[in-house]
Amino acid sequence: MTLVRQTLYMTVRHLRELSRQPWFVGVTLVQPVIWLLLFGALFKRIVDIPGFHGHSYIAFLAPGVVVMTAMFNSAWSGMALIEDLNRGVTARFLVSPVARQALIAGRLVKEAVVVVIQSLIIVVLALIVGASFPGGPGGVAALFAVSALLGATFGGLSNGFALIMRQEEALIGAVQFIVLPLTFLSSTFLQPNLMPSWIRHVADFNPVNWAVVAGRAATSASPDWGLVASRAGFLALLLALCLAFATRAFQSYQRSV
């Protein structure tokens, strides 16, 4: 109970920060808009490739862009933590009775909230440019949920790295190293049956792909809810691991001070 309350206090702190610079959400939407509009337009003819199911590439791409955006932005979550380390804010909390889990979880809940806001904007935009989500509002909600799970997972990873590296440059390097390859080793841009088989096999173990697969299934005309639930389950498990990792990483920081 205390843990939940402390997490809430920390979430309020981070969301308040965000509410004071709401333009930040807009800035982070530049990339997904480019993916959706330019990439979507550029590869419009992909639907003509034999073996591609469906008639609209934008409709295929939209859930992938939602998931990708969730990962891209949450992966920077550790940057704010490094700023807190440098400003002495984290040290102040560490000598108070607040649980370390709450210090991390507060950030992850905030990331999840941001993911939902961004996803909503992307979905509206996708609808405007001609995408459709035949699964209806329930399917879209499921897409948001798996995206939020993925965002929180990468947020946890990013915060753990932040505590271990404690340098913005190092964290930027790590994030760059991870996010693009994971995106391309998934079915974000292309249907699995059209991928080289090795990428298809790697993608099975890629959390980004889990979210894309689940999100796309949930928003399709006839959702395979078993598939959605299993991928969401994997993500939840991974999130728990990342939360534990980030919480333990405080020890690394505390040894260094």
Binding site: F93, S96, P97
Partner: protein, 330 residues
């Protein structure tokens, strides 16, 4: 009687082979201000970090309010308030939001929390700025907010790690009166680290001089200074309206051998000497100079300073030690 803070043989070294603490031991009596004095890099901050449970010692043990810092960190955290070196203020939140969150993490809530927050804002002169973002606060205001946050849960032991570093002199003086009030008025135990000799002298009832991770001397500022060999006497010799004229070379011999006066030396126009009791030695000294027709422009008697104490126990001046520390950290 139980000591509010006990450190016993604390050893801590950092990965790159830097030994921050090398067997640090001291005790702080309840309700007093205790000063840890030393140059940057002496190990003061590391001691505070161990005592406040931010990090662990490699060896040795320590307790705060009778609670072991390694075995009972959560209880120590509730008993202690901490003002770290550098600010811990969240500069993207207002002063009130900072204080409120600080209270919340200590389990305070609702109206009693709001009352406490308002009280502290008032007391530390932040009431008018309470709802402004802390980024716009002056250094002094941020520091006062730091202290207010450390006090929100009414801790019995307060750690102040270089609370006035980087503040201008006026703000520092304000801070001093606030700090001394904490122990005197509210019975709190205060551990203060500082590299300002003057600050330790002003605030601490007892102090320990830290050098290279060890305590080299301990006592009240008066006791420490008394151990030195007497007061310094500085006599400025008059030059009879002709500044370029060399002072009378006979001046040192005039006072050498006077009872209670020793270490006589002449540096330019300054005649220097030491005396067990400077005040009592001066009349005889002036008489002797007059008898030798040496004209005097001014006389100054200086009680030994903590600077002298530091020099005596560590073999180097405080400034030299600071410069050395700066060299190492580069």
């Amino acid at each position: 009687m139980q000591q509010a803070i006990e450190a016993d043989g604390l050893v801590k070294s950092y990965p790159k082979g830097v030994t921050a603490l090398d067997g640090l031991s001291f005790e702080v009596q309840q309700g007093t201000v205790f000063g840890l004095l030393g140059p940057n890099g002496a190990g003061k901050s590391t001691a505070v970090k161990i005592l406040t449970t931010l990090t662990r010692p490699d060896q040795g043990r320590a307790s705060v309010a009778g609670l072991d810092v390694v075995a009972q960190p959560d209880l120590v955290r509730r008993a202690a308030g901490v003002v770290a070196q550098g600010s811990g203020v969240d500069v993207q939140a207002t002063g009130r939001e900072n204080l409120r969150l600080q209270g919340q993490v200590y389990g305070m809530r609702g109206r009693s929390l709001e009352r406490r927050v308002g009280e502290l804002l008032e007391r530390f002169g932040l009431a008018d700025a309470a709802d402004r973002i802390a980024r716009g606060y002056s250094g002094g205001m941020q520091r006062r907010l730091d202290i207010a946050m450390a006090l929100v849960h009414d801790p019995t032991v307060l750690f102040l790690d270089e609370p006035t570093t980087g503040l201008d002199p006026e703000v520092r003086a304000e801070m001093w009166s606030e700090i001394s009030g904490l122990a005197a008025g509210q019975g709190k135990t205060v551990l203060l680290t500082t590299h300002y000799l003057e600050e330790a002298d002003q605030l601490a009832a007892r102090l320990a001089i830290v050098d290279r991770g060890r305590i080299v001397a301990q006592g009240s500022p008066e006791e420490l200074k008394r151990e030195l060999r007497g007061d310094a006497i500085q006599v400025e010799l008059a030059s009879d309206g002709a500044p370029e004229q060399a002072p009378d070379g006979s001046a040192p011999s005039a006072i050498d051998g006077l009872p209670g006066i020793r270490e006589v030396a002449l540096e330019g126009r300054m005649l220097l000497a030491r005396a067990d009791d400077g005040g009592r030695a001066v009349p005889a000294l002036l008489q002797a100079l007059e008898a030798h027709s040496v004209a005097v422009a001014s006389v100054r008697v200086a009680r030994p300073s903590l600077d002298d104490v530091y020099l005596r126990y560590t073999g180097r001046t405080f400034d030299a030690a600071e410069a050395e520390a700066a060299e190492v950290s580069r």
